[in-house]
Amino acid sequence: MKEIVVISGKGGTGKTSITASFALLGGKNVVVADCDVDAADMHLLLQPDFKQAEDFYSGLLAHIDTDNCTNCAVCADVCRFDAIPVIDGQHTINEISCEGCSYCARVCPEKAIRMEERNVGQWFVSTTKIGSTLVHARLGIGAENSGKLVAKVKNEAKVIAEKNKAELVLVDGSPGVGCPVVSSLSGASYVVLVTEPTVSGLHDLKRVYELVHKFNISAGCIINKADLNPQMTDEIMDFMAGENIDHLANLPYDETFTKAVTQGKTIVEFDENGLRRILEDSWEKVKKESDKQRRGI
């Protein structure tokens, strides 16, 4: 089984639209994992049934038992996250600031602090509108540990893929270069980078590729809105050539992207301006290149 991860560094480059198109082209052979748990949007295009939902617990949260608390302030003194303010004369846990390190609970002389598991969101296993499986999640507000929820979504997708003998797990990765992306990338057979020819597109592509490079995973790149700034597109192509990144496709600046999203559809469901054909070609290339990786060529 192969694992293809689509990431972009920068938001708004068309990553989710392109991933959803690949999901449609891959059909039932592909298990999709929406690992952009912070802003999970894949369900808007694949229209899953939210068949199975489960709470996700990760990390800990401190609770002060006010009956036993003497307000001695030892907890607040050791807390490095300013998470134990005094409100109306009572030491109180600020749930958003608490990191769940348990230091306060360990040093409380009255044993008045207990640590509880923290519910950080929900994850779902769904059947999409084309009958394939989508594993997705929703992170709670201000929750920590989104990297762990990403890992959960990915692992569930892999388990299902093994069970159903699906060939591929297709991952919609998170933006940025922090812990959720690191989680998205671990174990990938091939990475698809989606970028756009803007100064920020190139800047973010370079940063996120540095991370991909650290993981030693081969990658291909799709330049979306390539005709917006041909000079910048050339610069991106030069960067790709220098780093040995496969060039998968250039997509035009095209409002079909928005039109499709507005109707809850993927781009390949529209046969306009040859976008479908370009995406079909890229999907074939992605499958071929990731196969090479698996066979160690």
Binding site: G9, K10, G11, G12, T13, T16, D38, A39, D41, L44, G59, L60, V78, R80, F81, I96, E99, G100, C101, S102, Y103, R106, V107, L139, I141, G142, A143, E144, S146, G147, P175, G176, V177, G178, C179, V182, E196, P197, T198, V199, S200, G201, H203, D204, R207, E210, L211, K214, K225, L228, N229, M232, Y253, E255, T258, V261, T262, G264
Partner: protein, 287 residues
């Protein structure tokens, strides 16, 4: 006044608005723009100026002194599996460490002193009109929050007196956004009128309500997509501060790293509307 520019979804025009608004407001006021999107700091690409200061920023992690009774308390108290007793050694995994100090301070032999480890850097740049501070996380560092917290401290220490602070926040609704918007008096949520935009906006709105923040919305690429976003804002009683048109020319200027409002008069008009809104907020007192 501290204004955070945020968005649930990435790529909606958060950085475009933050940089243009900073430049526009600085024509009449003292402004500092702070890029807190430390994972992908982009504001600096649109701003030219002279670097006044650069500081490396560190997080504190434990370092084993190399000698102890190997009692294992450090490993037991670490909730993040960042400290491990392995044979006759204590190993520390810096990327997992949350700098809570528990292992270091609860070690009966003081064998794990806390030492600094570089996680990123802060740059202060002076442009023609305003001060700009960029905060950048090193690749491989996973936690944005400690660096954002240190950037807030840097501003307090170095640029406390600027009349207006504009934060370019990270996207999303998780911990980095909360750290970035924590001290803001007002939050501008940038969105676009598509189902993605609406879905991620509603998450961002929930977050802002949870944090009890005063906030409003700017709709970018306004004439694209459908009316669901403006309808949602009306229903929820959320003020729409500005509507920025969808225009290939704007996208082209952005792709070249140029400020938009100096070339597109409609954008300047929208920035004026935002300024007026913020002014009324200021005069009406902060709620």
């Amino acid at each position: 006044m501290k204004i955070a520019v945020a968005s649930g979804k990435g790529g909606t025009g958060k950085t475009t608005l933050a940089t243009n608004l900073a430049a526009f407001l600085s024509e009449r006021r003292r402004v500092v723009l702070i890029d807190l999107d430390v994972e992908e700091p982009n504001s600096g690409l649109f701003i030219k100026g002279q670097i006044l200061k650069k500081e490396d920023k560190y997080k504190m992690i434990p370092e084993w002194s190399g000698e102890c009774s190997l009692c294992g308390i450090c490993q037991d108290v670490c909730e993040f599996h960042a400290v491990l007793r392995l044979g006759t050694q204590i190993m520390v995994f810096p990327e997992l460490c949350h700098s809570c100090y528990a292992c270091s301070e609860l070690c009966p032999e003081s064998a794990l002193p806390m030492v600094p480890k570089k996680m990123g850097s802060i740059k202060q740049i002076q442009t023609d009109g305003f001060a700009f501070v960029e905060s950048r996380l090193d690749i491989g560092e996973e936690q944005a929050v400690p660096l954002i917290a240190q950037t807030h401290k840097y501003i307090e220490a170095n640029l406390k007196d600027e009349e207006i602070r504009i934060y370019d926040s990270p996207p999303g609704t998780s911990c980095p956004v909360i750290e970035a918007t924590k001290t803001a008096d007002f939050v501008i949520l940038v969105t676009e009128p598509t189902p993605f935009g609406l879905h991620d906006l509603s998450l961002a709105v929930e977050t802002m309500r949870e944090l009890k923040k005063d906030f409003g919305v700017v709709i970018n690429r306004f004439d694209l997509g459908n009316d669901d976003v403006p309808d949602y804002c009306e229903k929820e009683g959320i003020p729409v501060l500005a509507r920025i048109p969808n225009d290939r020319h704007i996208a082209e200027l952005y792709s070249q790293g140029k400020l938009i409002y100096k070339h597109v008069p409609q954008v300047e008009t929208q920035l004026q509307a935002i300024e007026q809104f913020l002014e009324e907020k200021l005069n009406g007192g902060r709620s």
